[in-house]
Symmetry: C2
Subunit: 160 residues, 2 copies
């Protein structure tokens, strides 16, 4: 295997990436549901933001990324916007998953290798896109600790 052949070999295809993302979205949805409504936006450990606030940030970053998949543009979201109740969060979550299915099916394959201007810097599309998933896994895992601290069993991590 020469370096030049390896450099263009595919690790994840675009459909792989989209399926991976949707699997994580389904798991995060179960974590949002696992919180008692009255604790989703109030309970915290170590002075961190409650999980509902973190999930709203995940939602805003994800919506920004889905929009960019469609338009190639990355306008900064209004971080003060977004759902503030469990029901509203789940409703907007489902709508975005549906929009990702639609937008994903017509993604420009050049999106991932092209460079993009984000509010926090210029980077290749794959770095910008996978950041949305990394950010989701990171904040969701903090929700796992909050659930444990509440004495609740979180959803299985390996189920997507």
């Amino acid at each position: 295997m020469t370096a030049s052949v390896l450099s263009t070999a595919t690790a994840l295809s675009v459909p792989d990436f989209l399926a991976h993302w949707q699997g994580h979205r389904a798991l995060t949805r179960r974590v949002i549901q696992a919180f008692p409504e009255e604790q989703l936006f109030t309970f915290s450990v170590g002075g961190m933001r409650p999980f509902g606030v973190q999930a709203t940030e995940i939602h805003l970053v994800s919506a920004m990324t889905v929009d960019a998949l469609h338009s190639g543009q990355w306008p900064a979201p209004d971080w003060a916007a977004g759902p503030t109740t469990q029901a509203e969060l789940l409703r907007e979550w489902d709508a975005l998953s549906e929009r990702l299915s639609q937008v994903g099916a017509s993604t420009d394959p050049a999106f991932f290798s092209a460079r993009h201007a984000l509010p926090w810097g210029e980077m290749p599309g794959w770095v910008a896109a996978i950041y949305a998933i990394d950010n989701e896994i990171h904040h969701r895992a903090q929700g796992y600790v909050f659930l444990r601290a509440l004495g609740l069993e979180p959803p299985a991590f390996y189920e997507r």
Copy 2:
């Protein structure tokens, strides 16, 4: 864009995937270092495993995945093995990062699309490989909560 063209389009190339993994490994190393030695394998929130134990599991899953990148084989690790002190963990961490650099440069590109038999089921190589990164982000984020609960500032998530 027809569905057939999109289905073979690359989201992440093999070098992208390897760079992404090494970036996460560098961040997790900083999280391991951020714990006071005396709390790495003892401190916990909500009855969870201490971060040192979680980091050892990350290490064993990662070592298994690096070995598979080289051999295509996935023997179950000895989960009772692995480092038990901060210094030993950091030493084994660095050795594995170095091994990933070597093994990664000669990865068979067919690894990611081929199906593999893991101790927990059969799956495509990309699913098996990215699970190691997902598992790392997930457990590392729980370490972030433990650090906050200890009154310590974790490393910046977006720095790799």
